[in-house]
Structure formats: structure tokens, C-alpha cells
Symmetry: C2
Subunit: 425 residues, 2 copies
């Protein structure tokens, strides 16, 4: 075995032929395998489905003179606010507990910016002649699509293993039309990078030209280690406040990958000034979020320590899947010098950086063999990967045996794409 | 006993003195009674809390190749869409099943109109120089506040026992800046009126100047009889489609007053064209609503027939409360000719039309004696009741004995306010 780039064209042709035979074999299996999204697998869902029975009577809903079953308590059940404050290291008054989707909380914050402006906005963003949003890339496609839909120009910022390239960020925020930045500080989507303390500190200390510049701090994987110990993370609210930027940041989290993805609870954390502002607008939008489900979660998850214990169960299910993916990549791709990848300790993704110009082709081959991956380019603003090279693998959904097959197919396809790119006679 | 208007000033002075003594007595009781919002009472919540245990295993969540616990199915669980289609008399493809608040679905439809426009909009509403919304009044304060927050001028339309004054509506929609109307077609909030077939037909057949005129059809009380048989209602989607206005209407409903107000499910029904449009935008806002709770509701409520049977239980709890309110009004107010009121058969409110200029004063007196009612004026756009006369009573929350006391206090206060207004020596 040797590096493909060093092979002669004729040897490459031979290699392709062999791999294509292999691929035909896979195709005949008629697989339907999905590694496209960070969906927990059935085993994970089963492992937490006790949550369905933890709240089983009306009496449990009544305490402190309140009834979780009735209207009211816009900011969330006090015990749920305490839970999230404990999880995120902030104060309950700095939280709003939402419905089943933190994405919706993010959307609403930015939509309010567009419709009404945020507390420090000179005017609603929809009245700005031009507005831009910083998108560390590769990143999370759903983040990018929110700001795209709301009319922002998406400005890519290179990602590094320590987080977004802060020189580039500091330079970019000198433009007053730059209104914010997307961040996934822990186990970034898709690379699994953890922002360094230095990066967090520099973000908190930004001096943006826009008075309403907004850091969208999506702490989606705050307790989501699948390997090794829990990694503490800084309270970004305190960091920003200490740097004189208390109102600059909104932090988000959810139980989507702690309990049930479709039926969890979410949280927004921000300065008390920001919380007041958003509650004022939210009070017209809704009466309250589902406090029965908030209570169900508090009864089930209890606190941070208990949540971390529960996350070990997820880790036990997830770790073998990530290990398998890395083994397959090590065995089947490493020898040919056609890709590199990260080795995350948490989060939901492995990111493969393939030889430039091969990602789309490889994924098309995969699709033909019944293996669905996140669309090539999806991790870049507008779905445009300038190098056509970044591939996001989400190993969580398929059972191990299916994942093994999917990875065999993926590696075969990526090898074919690389060989085609390098050329053969 | 005689009509206050016919009394001599000196007799009125005597009457006031007696009533004020009575009120002092009430004040010394230190009541804390709340008739301000249409919140179900504890007994109602207890009567449906079996819903908490109807879904108690992960297996129940898995069927038809789907898992309700996982991400996906933006438009809602198919069985939940079927449930709502059955309830509203439309087709499942015409529905989106939402989270715990239909108010949030309404807000989102109009916010999308502002940010992006609706399918027939020449431009996003936030780019319109002027935009207006028709508000049949008295009406629901939360409706009015949504359109107020989104920057519409609120145009009051007189309510009649058959629904909004349709001559006024037909005249108003000739203005192209009029973008929509709020409707509560069955047991209107607060008067409990049911729109006549003629009104529904005329609304469906409107020929508004604005191509994107929108009927916000909040069918909040579609199965909410507390007296008499279920009153069938027309499918507004068909009526509009038949009149060539298929895309003009959005219907809303929820289980907030069927199961649990803070933890129910909601629905939006509209033309398939509108559904497609909104799903396209919604797909950026969220991944899915809480399908576990949707499933819980379908298991518990089953279908329209079963839901109607369950509504009889609510009726048994609510009917005595409404009866008590009407008895008190008949006994303590009718003799003095100082107010009139409706006698609804469903919904959540009794609306008292007091002598002009007395509502605020009466409610201030009530507040002083510990009885909270919906703020005077709240049922009018901008909170401005031109006659200071409309008072909304929400009898559902307090237990019967507290309600009795609250009504005694209310009647006393309204009598004092009327006497003060009429003048005494």
C-alpha cells in the first residue's frame, strides 16, 4: 500500500477497478444507512425513556403556590431555571427556559433583532441597509441558514483547533454592519474542537463597531463527553460582563442530546438586562412554554452532577461508534494520504477533510450505495465549501453493525474519488 | 328596589353609603381572588391529568418506521395531524401541529409576514409604509397586542351577536394597507358570540384590496360548550377555497382548554400552498415540535368524538360557575338598570357591559377588595374602551365558594361606580 499521489496512473487505474468491484458488491446489499445528522440512536433513546414516567400525577405539578399544568411563568419554572443555572454556571435570573428546541430560541433572538432591534441597536436590523454575520467554518449548517434566511451576508471565519481564528474575528468586527458571530464553544460542530480559554477571553473582550454586536454562544455539547472526564467550561456571561460586554452574548443549551431530541427542554442565558428585554417581547408571543415538560426534566435530571452521571450512559453507547469510525478511517484511508480527520472526545461528529475536489464525488458515490451523509458543503456558509473537501460524519444513529458497513462503503467511495481526481490512464 | 337612574340624588347617596359599608366588610376579609384570565381551575386540571401517564414507554413512540422521541417530522406526527383534521373538519395535509401555544403559531405567521411576506405579498410587511389590522372589539387582548407589537395600526370593528359587523369589514378591506382581521368564530372572547353562517360566508368571500389580506381564524373554543349540545362549525378553509380565497385564511386551535393549558398541543390549518410556504420557513426555525407530547395527546384524546365526551367533564365543572355568575348578575345588578351581559353557552367568559364611564372605577374598587379582573379596556385595541364600559369576567379559575364571594364584591363595586357616576348630593 502506498500514498495514492505517489502511485503511477496505471496503478491508480488498477486500484480504481478493484474498488469499483468492491462498491458494486456493496450496492447489491441494498443498504439504507443514515449518517447525515447528529441524531441519537434508538439505544440512547431507550436508555433515557424512564423520563416518560417520572411525572405521573397532578399533585407533583403543584408546589410553591403554583401549578405547572396551568398558564403562566413565562421565563420558565423556577426549578428549571435553577437547573440550567447550575448546568451553565450562571444565575437563575440570567436564564429563560424554553420549549423543545434551542434552535427556536436562537431564531427568535435574531428575528427580534430584525423586527425590533436588540437593546443596544440603533434601529431594527431589518432597517439596516447591510448586515453581516460571522460564520466560523466549517460550522453548523442550521446556524448559517437562520442568518441567511434573516437576510444577513454570511462571512466565513476560518476555524482552528482553538476556535475561530481570533485575528480574523477582531478584524471583521471593525465593520459596523457585522452584527454577530455564531459559536459552538465546546466540541464544535463538526470538528469537535474546544475553544481555548484564550479564544473565549478574546471573544468576551471584543470591541465591535456595531453597538448591538451579538455573540450566539451555542453550548450544544456542554456536557457531551463520550471519552474521558467532563471538561469544565467557562461561564461566558461572566467573561463578557468582566470585559464590559455584559449584554453582548446569548448562550444556548438544550437537553436534546441528554434526554429526548424531539421532546427535551431548552435554555437561553444572558444578562439580566437582556432577559428583561426578551421577556417583554416574548410576553406577546406566548403565555408560557411547556412547564410540565420542564418539571419532568428537573425530576429526571435533578442537577448537573446527576446529569453528568447520566451522560456516562450515552458515552458508553456513543464511544464504540466513534472508535469504530476512527478505526475504519485509520485502516482504510490513512495509508493513502488522501484525507485527515479530527479525533474528538465529545460532541456528535467526526470531520473528514478529504483531498480538495473530492467531497462531492465521494458523497455521490456513497448515496448510490445507499449511505446518506451530510451534504458536501453543508458545513460552510451558503453550502459552499471552497475546497470541496469537508465531510461531516455523524455516527450516532446507526447501530454498530450498520455503521461498520457504512464506513466500509464511505472509505471505498472516498478512495475512488481521490484516485479519479489524481487521474489514471 | 328601583333603577338607579330613576332614583333621586339623595336616595343614591343613601344607597352608596350602604354599599360602601358592605364593601368595607368585604375588604376586611382579605380576599385574593382572580377572575382575570381564562385559566382552567384545579378541578379541571385534575380531571385530565391522566394524560400524564398514557404514554409510559419508549416502545409506544416507535411505529410506522418513525420514533416520536427523535428529531424530525416538522409538520407534526402524522397521527396528530389526522387528529386535528378530524377536529377541525379539514384534511391532514392542511395542518401543522405545533407546540404548547397556538398563540405562538399565530405570532409566527404574522412575524413571517413582516420579515418575509406571505405567499401573495408584494413585499415583506416590514417594508410597507403603513399597515393596518382589523380588530373586532371587544376582542382578545393578546391578539391585539401581537399586531400592535408588529407595528400594525389597530382598526376597531364593532362586534355584533352574529360576529364582526360585516358591512364595516367589507368597507375597511377596500384599503390596501389593511392586511388582515382577527376572528374568534365560536364563543368569541369575551362575549361568547358565535359567528353566524352568513358572517362566515361573507368573511370567506371578502374581496380585499390587499392581495395578502389574512384572516386569523382563532378557533380557540371550537369544542368548548359548557351548556347544551356540541354546536357544529363550518370548515372555514373550504368556505374560503369555494370563494376563490383558499390562501386567505389561517385557522388555529389548541388543547389548552381540553387537556393542560401550559402543556397542550396546538394546530395551524391552512391551504396546502400556505402549509408548504410556512414549512419552508419553519424548517430554518426549528427541527420539529414536541412529538412525544403530540403522541401523548393522540393517545389520550383519540378523536373528535372522544374529545367531545371529555369536554362534557369540563362542562360539568364549568357550568355551575357560569350559572353562579349569571345568577349573581341577575340578582344584584339587573334590578338597577346599570349593566347588561351576555349568556354564553361555551367559551370562558361573561362580558358585562356596564354603564358608560364606570368600568375602570368598578375594577379599581374590586382590586381594593382583593378581586382581580381583566383590566378595564383590555378587550379593545390599545386597551382603550371608548365607553369605559366593557368588563370581562373569567369564572373558570376560582372554586365556586370563592367565585361567589368575588361576584358579590364585583356587583357591589359596579353598583357603587354607577351611583357615583349618576351623581348624588
Amino acid at each position: 500500500m502506498s500514498q495514492y499521489a505517489a502511485m503511477s496512473p496505471s496503478l491508480r487505474a488498477q486500484e480504481i477497478a478493484g474498488l469499483k468491484t468492491q462498491l458494486s458488491g456493496f450496492e447489491q446489499l441494498g443498504c439504507q444507512l443514515d449518517m447525515s445528522r447528529g441524531k441519537p440512536g434508538r439505544e440512547q433513546l431507550d436508555s433515557v425513556s424512564d423520563i416518560l414516567t417520572v411525572l405521573d400525577s397532578g399533585e407533583q405539578c403543584c408546589f410553591a403556590g403554583q401549578d405547572a399544568r396551568n398558564y403562566g411563568q413565562l421565563a420558565g419554572l423556577p426549578c428549571a431555571r435553577e437547573y440550567w443555572a447550575d448546568m451553565l454556571g450562571c444565575r437563575p435570573e440570567q436564564t429563560i427556559v424554553g420549549g423543545n428546541a434551542s434552535l427556536n430560541l436562537m431564531y427568535d433572538v435574531l428575528a427580534r433583532g430584525c423586527l425590533f432591534g436588540l437593546p443596544h441597536s440603533p434601529r431594527p436590523w431589518c432597517q439596516e441597509a447591510e448586515k453581516k454575520f460571522l460564520c466560523p467554518a466549517p460550522g453548523y449548517d442550521r446556524h448559517f441558514r437562520i442568518t441567511e434566511q434573516l437576510g444577513f451576508s454570511l462571512i466565513p471565519i476560518p476555524m482552528t483547533p482553538a476556535g475561530p481564528n481570533m485575528d480574523a474575528v477582531e478584524e471583521a468586527v471593525r465593520d459596523p454592519s457585522v452584527k454577530g458571530i455564531w459559536c459552538v464553544p465546546k466540541y464544535s460542530n463538526p470538528q469537535g474542537y474546544v475553544y481555548s480559554d484564550e479564544t473565549c477571553r478574546r471573544i468576551a473582550a471584543l470591541r465591535p463597531a456595531a453597538p448591538d454586536f451579538t455573540v450566539m454562544w451555542d453550548n450544544a455539547y456542554c456536557v457531551h463527553e463520550f471519552e474521558g472526564d467532563f471538561l469544565p467550561f467557562p461561564d461566558i456571561l461572566s467573561l463578557c460582563a468582566d470585559a464590559g460586554n455584559a449584554d453582548m452574548v446569548y448562550e444556548f443549551a438544550s437537553t436534546s442530546k441528554i434526554t429526548l431530541p424531539g421532546a427535551g427542554i431548552s435554555a437561553l442565558a444572558a444578562s439580566e438586562e437582556n432577559i428583561r428585554y426578551h421577556l417583554g417581547l416574548m410576553g406577546v408571543q406566548t403565555i408560557s412554554y411547556d412547564k410540565v415538560n420542564q418539571l419532568r426534566h428537573v425530576l429526571y435530571l435533578k442537577d448537573r452532577a446527576h446529569t453528568l452521571a447520566l451522560m456516562r450512559r450515552h458515552a458508553e453507547i456513543l464511544a464504540p461508534k466513534f472508535r469504530l469510525v476512527l478505526e475504519k478511517l485509520d485502516e482504510q484511508l490513512a495509508p493513502y494520504g488522501i484525507a485527515r480527520w479530527n479525533r474528538p472526545k465529545g460532541g456528535y461528529f467526526v470531520c473528514v477533510e478529504a483531498m480538495p475536489g473530492t467531497a462531492k464525488r465521494a458523497l455521490a458515490l456513497c448515496a448510490g450505495a445507499g449511505v446518506k451523509l451530510t451534504e458536501a458543503g453543508a458545513t460552510y456558509p451558503y453550502g459552499l465549501d471552497p475546497n470541496d473537501s469537508m465531510i461531516r460524519i455523524a455516527p450516532s444513529l446507526p447501530p454498530l453493525e450498520e455503521l461498520e458497513q457504512a464506513m466500509d462503503i464511505f472509505c471505498t467511495c472516498l478512495r475512488i474519488a481521490a484516485l479519479e481526481k489524481l487521474g489514471s490512464i
